[in-house]
Structures are given as C-alpha cells and as structure tokens.
C-alpha cells in the first residue's frame, strides 16, 4: 500500500536528479511587540538558502548555534512550513503540501534528533515508540508488528527484548539507537540527522557514527547530517554546507573544504576546532574571530559575516555576495575569498 504513495511522489523523478532540492528557502519567525502584538520584525532563521542533496549522499550542514541549520532541517522535512522558497523532494514541490499528501511524505523522510533524552516519550515503552510509525501508517499489526519492532531493534544493535522497557532505563547511546530505529520504521529514503551525537559521551559517539554509516550503505539512505562539530561532519559527509546567520556561506566536498576553504568564515571555523594532537596544536596558526554572532532579527546588510570578518571591506556591507563556483564542486559566497 505504501508503494502507491511512494510512486505518487516520485512519478516524474529519476535518480539523476537531486533527491532534495531547496531553492531560496526562507523561514522567518515573527517577533511580536506593542499594544496590539503587532509583528515588529522577524527572526531570519533561514534566509534564502539554495541547496541540493543527491540520492545516496550525506550532506553535512555545519554552523554555530543559531545559524539556522536545525530550522533548515525541519523546513525540509516539513515540520515547519517555510515562509518562502521551495523544497522539492524527488522532483515534487512539497513546500506547502498537506493532509494525506504530507502523510505520504512522512514515509519517505525521517528525522533523528539531538537530545536522546527529550526526543523519546518517557511514558512510552521502547516498543511503542518504535511501533508508533508502524501504527500511524498501518504498516503492520499484531505479531507482524512485534516482529518488525524486534527486527528494528536488532538493526540498530539493541537487544530485541528491550521492547517493553522505558527510555529512561537506557544510556544516551542506547536511546539514540532507539531514535534511529524509530526513524527507520517508516522505511525512509531520506533522513535528517539533527545533531545526532552532540549530546553523547565521547566514547559513545563513534558507535553511533558507525551505525549511521552502516545503515546508510545497507538501506541506501540519503542523509542531511546537521552538526556543529566539523570533525564529525567531515568524517561522515560527502559534501558539507557551512551556514552562518541563516545563509549558506560555502558548499564543498568534505576533504576539499578542509584542504582549501574559500570562505573566511569556513577558514576561521576550521582553525577554531582543536585537533587532538599536541604536536599539531602547538604549531597551528590560530585565526581567532572577534566578537559574537550578530542578531538574526536584524542581520547585517550585505554579507552576514562581515561584522566579524577580518577581510571585510566596504563593499561587503553594500551587497550580498552570491554563491559562486570555485572549481567543479565548490561554492562560496564571498567577494574576497581565501586562496
């Protein structure tokens, strides 16, 4: 039965096209004030983003807190309705779909959340949590449903007998596995991983990263991997998009981004990330950004990064730099890019 809905969505789509294409996506949140609660401004959480995600790849999305990366993830999965722009999934515009159509989309996309403590309903058993997508989409019933839940637990490396336990009995890593099992339950093609490891202990992070990689190859999944930790993103992603204040600053293949960042922000971000090797750390050239991120309610004119950018000139305030191609697979939005 789900076959039909998948087909309905993918009628005109071929695997050569991007699985997800985002164009000029904007998500603004109103800021209300005054006597009548008039809207006096907007948080420009996502403000004109263009991205494409190819089938089977992992697109990493990095940026500091408040840069809009999670909002972007939620807009793409339609947990938020975008203010403007379009999101296409398998070629179809899903920006404003509703009802049954949206439900069908929910079977194609899944999401994994940052906080494994908050993202599992503490009042449900693990089996119910994983079984819920099955129930919602009426994928299975009775014994079949139970079997499926057990299989999913095994898939994420957990003992199937844990189905009747409650989330609080598990460690962070185990909970994240449960969250992943839930995401897999709808048999999605595309998963948005929203900081899936940042709340985990260091020694556990690798387990989850490996699990995600493993699942991707087994089930031909496409990931949008959101994180603030560039080392992790670089490890897991094919390509990386760097966001700053609601805009994409640079997109590049993972290794290319480290070797040759073009955007000054990317550069300083790289330089700020400590490398667990004293030999390298002591020799490293530090490139410390001054000040704090500007307010997303009143983002700076022109280039968003110019207020902290060591290379900024007058021109940067007057015009917003577009994403320009550097070579075949790298884009950066900067008038004065790094070499």
């Amino acid at each position: 039965m789900h076959e039909t809905s998948v087909k309905a969505l993918s009628r005109a789509w071929t695997t050569n096209e991007p699985l997800v294409s985002i164009s000029d996506l904007r998500v603004w949140f109103p800021v209300a004030s005054g006597v009548m609660q008039r809207t006096i401004g907007h948080v420009h959480a996502v403000d004109g983003v263009d991205l494409e995600i190819k089938a089977g790849e992992t697109l990493g999305l990095v940026g500091e807190s408040g840069c809009g990366k999670s909002t972007l993830g939620r807009a793409v999965t339609r947990l938020l309705e975008p203010t403007g722009g379009t999101v296409r999934f398998k070629g179809e515009d899903i920006t404003h779909i509703r009802g049954g159509h949206l439900r069908a989309l929910r079977r194609e996309m899944a999401m994994i959340f940052q906080d494994p403590y908050a993202s599992l309903d503490p009042r449900q058993t693990v089996g119910d949590i994983i079984g819920e997508p099955i129930d919602v989409h009426r994928l299975a019933k009775g014994k079949e449903r139970q079997d499926r839940i057990r299989e999913l637990l095994r898939v994420v490396g957990m003992n199937p007998r844990y189905a009747d336990r409650y989330p609080h009995e598990f460690s962070g890593g185990q909970r994240q596995r449960i969250g992943i099992a839930r995401a897999l339950a709808v048999e999605p093609t595309f998963i948005v991983c929203d900081e899936p490891i940042s709340a985990l202990d260091v020694s556990i992070q690798a387990q989850i990263i490996n699990l995600l990689e493993n699942l991707q190859s087994k089930f031909k999944l496409t990931y949008l991997f959101i994180a603030h930790d560039l080392s992790v993103v670089k490890h897991i992603s094919n390509r990386i998009a760097v966001m700053y204040l609601g805009k994409v600053m640079e997109v590049a293949p993972a290794s290319q981004l480290y070797r040759r960042p073009r955007h000054p922000y990317t550069g300083s971000l790289m330089s700020a990330i400590p490398i667990p090797d004293p030999a390298i750390e002591l020799r490293r050239e530090r490139f410390i950004l001054q000040g704090d991120v500007a307010s997303p309610v009143n983002p700076p004119s022109g280039c968003r990064f110019r207020t902290r950018c060591p290379r900024a000139r007058e021109h940067c305030a007057e015009e917003t730099p577009p994403l320009e191609a550097f070579g075949s697979d790298q884009w950066a939005a900067c008038f004065y890019p790094l070499d």
């Binding site: 004030s33 005054g34 006597v35 009548m36 609660q37």
Partner: protein, 323 residues
C-alpha cells in the same frame, strides 16, 4: 515599553472585565425569580408599590438594557446606588476597603514575615527534625477549616479567657464599639482574624518558599557564590533568598483578589466589616448594583494583582523585560 506593556494588558483585561460582569448579571438575573431586592416580602406593599420600586431600580427593563446603562454609567465613573439602601455603591466599597486592606494586609505581612524564615529553615535543614515539624505544622494548617479555627479562637481567647478574669481579645468588628478606633484598639481587634487568615497564608507560603529555596540552592550560581569564599549565611540570604523570593511575589500578587473572596469566611466569622462580607451579604439579597460594582472592582483587583505581580517580578528579576 513598560507603558505599552501595561496598556496592552489593560486592553486585554477589558474583555475579561466585561465578560465577568455579563456572567454575573446573567446568573443573578436567571436566579432571581420575582424577587425584588431590598423589599423582601413585605405584605404592607401593594403590587403597585412593588411595580414602582421595580421600575425605580430599573428591573422592569430587559437585563441587557439594564446592563448597557449600568456599564455606561460605570465607564463614567458612576457605580450607581445600592438597590437595598440607596447609598452609592462606590461609597460602600470605599467604606469597607480600608478594613479589608487592614486585615488582609496584616495577614499577608505576618504571613511573609513568618513563612520566609520558616521556609528557609526548612530548606536549609531539609530532612531534619525541625524540617519535619515545620512540614507537619504547615500541612496541618492547611487542613483546618478556617471558620472552625476562627470560632475556636473566639471561644478560647475571648469567651473563656474573659470568664476566668484573664486578659482577653475582642471577638468581632474592627474596633471597640465604644471609644474605640485608636491604634492599640484596632490592633487588638485585628489579632484573632489576622491570625486565622495569616495561618492559612503561612502554611502555603512556607512550603512554597521551602521548595523555591531548595531549587535555588541547587543552582549553579550558588556554587559560584560558594566558590568565591563567602559565608553560608551570605550565600543563603543574599544570593539564594533574593532569587527564591521572586516567585513568592507572584503568589502574593495573586492574593489581591483575595481581598474580596479570600478573606470572606474570616470576615463573616469575625464580623469584620470588609468587602468580602459586603459582597456576600449583598449577593444574598440580590443587590444587583452592589454585586455588580463589587464584581467589577474585584475583577479589576484580579487584573491589577496579576499585573502588579508581573511588574514586581520585572523589578526583582532583571531577566524579565516587557515586550
């Protein structure tokens, strides 16, 4: 910003006030039957007398008409006259308000003065015998019917003490009937009702302070304060209490409407000439204009109380900004 905030809150309140008065009037109207306030059932009255009085009170009109003219007058600052005694409703309220403020204010002050240290002690000595005793007292205080406690206090501290020739406390009214009214006299009259009322506040607030204090003491900034090397007393009373008291302000602000109904039972038991007693008596007599006036006033108090609590919160907690 603040002025705007108050203005917005005020506008939002208008709907609430109107709604409250409409609900009250509807209820009163639907329960009144053929009862005409202030007349009772006086066989000396002829039907034409009653009709005239009814017309005089405006009760011959449909209630919505009555309401419209009432609200119109209220908007012009005229709360009308009591249907029972013809005195201006405003003067009734203003006559009783000082008494009620005196009683509730004293009870709140006593409540705060006692509950704060008790709550702090309970929090600091959490789990100790003292804490358990305080807990029991406060839970028990919450379980005594107020009117019962009031009557018992009267029997003990007025009647029995007096019978044994001991110094005793007056049992009703806000001051002595004869030659009363000086401060000492008023304080003597205040003791029993304020005790009953503050006992209630005390039970609630001491528990509240205790848990609020416990929460504050577990905060990071308390650890920071300790790490600076300050004494525990300073940590608790300067850094802890200041934060723990903020939510109490809200609670106290929410007591403002208690002026009308919160102290009612105490006012009735002790014959305290306050607004609650007025409201109660007049509601039973279907004194429309007084009831509506008091309702209006009480609703304003509720709103003012909430607003005041919020504003005070803002003063005490710099994190709050009005927008």
């Amino acid at each position: 910003m603040l002025a705007k905030y108050i203005a917005r809150r005020f506008l939002a309140s208008v709907i609430v006030v109107l709604g409250v008065t409409v609900i009250t009037l509807l209820l009163m109207n639907s329960t009144r039957g053929s009862y005409v306030p202030g007349i009772d059932l006086n066989p000396a009255l002829r039907p034409e007398d009653i009709a005239r009085l009814r017309a005089n009170l405006g009760l011959d009109r449909p209630f919505y008409e009555w309401y419209m003219s009432w609200i119109w007058a209220v908007l012009h600052g005229d709360f009308g006259r009591s249907m029972i005694d013809g005195s201006p409703v405003m003067s009734h309220i203003l006559d009783r308000l000082p008494n009620t403020l005196e009683l509730t204010g004293t009870a709140i002050v006593i409540g705060v003065l006692i509950s704060v240290p008790l709550g702090v002690i309970g929090a600091l000595r959490r789990g100790s015998k003292t804490d358990h005793v305080l807990t029991v007292v406060s839970v028990a205080g919450f379980a005594v019917p107020q009117f019962w406690m009031g009557l018992m206090l009267i029997l003990i501290f007025s009647v029995t003490l007096q019978q044994h020739g001991l110094p005793w406390l007056p049992s009703s009214g806000a001051f002595s009937a004869y030659a009363g009214g000086d401060i000492l006299d008023r304080i003597l009259h205040l003791i029993l009702p304020a005790t009953v009322l503050s006992f209630f506040y005390l039970s609630v607030w001491s528990r509240f302070i205790r848990s609020s204090m416990l929460e504050v003491l577990s905060q990071d900034y308390i650890r920071t304060a300790r790490a600076k090397g300050m004494s525990e007393r300073r940590v608790v009373y300067l850094h802890g209490l200041r934060n723990a008291l903020i939510p109490l302000i809200t609670l106290i602000g929410l007591e403002l409407p208690g002026l009308v109904s919160g102290g009612l039972v105490v006012e009735v038991v002790f014959g305290w000439p306050g607004i609650g007693k007025l409201a109660f008596e007049r509601a039973l007599q279907y004194d429309y204009s007084t009831v509506m006036g008091v309702t209006f006033f009480a609703t304003l108090l509720v709103i003012a109380g909430n607003l005041l609590a919020d504003l005070l919160y803002g003063v005490l907690d710099p994190r709050i900004r009005y927008s």
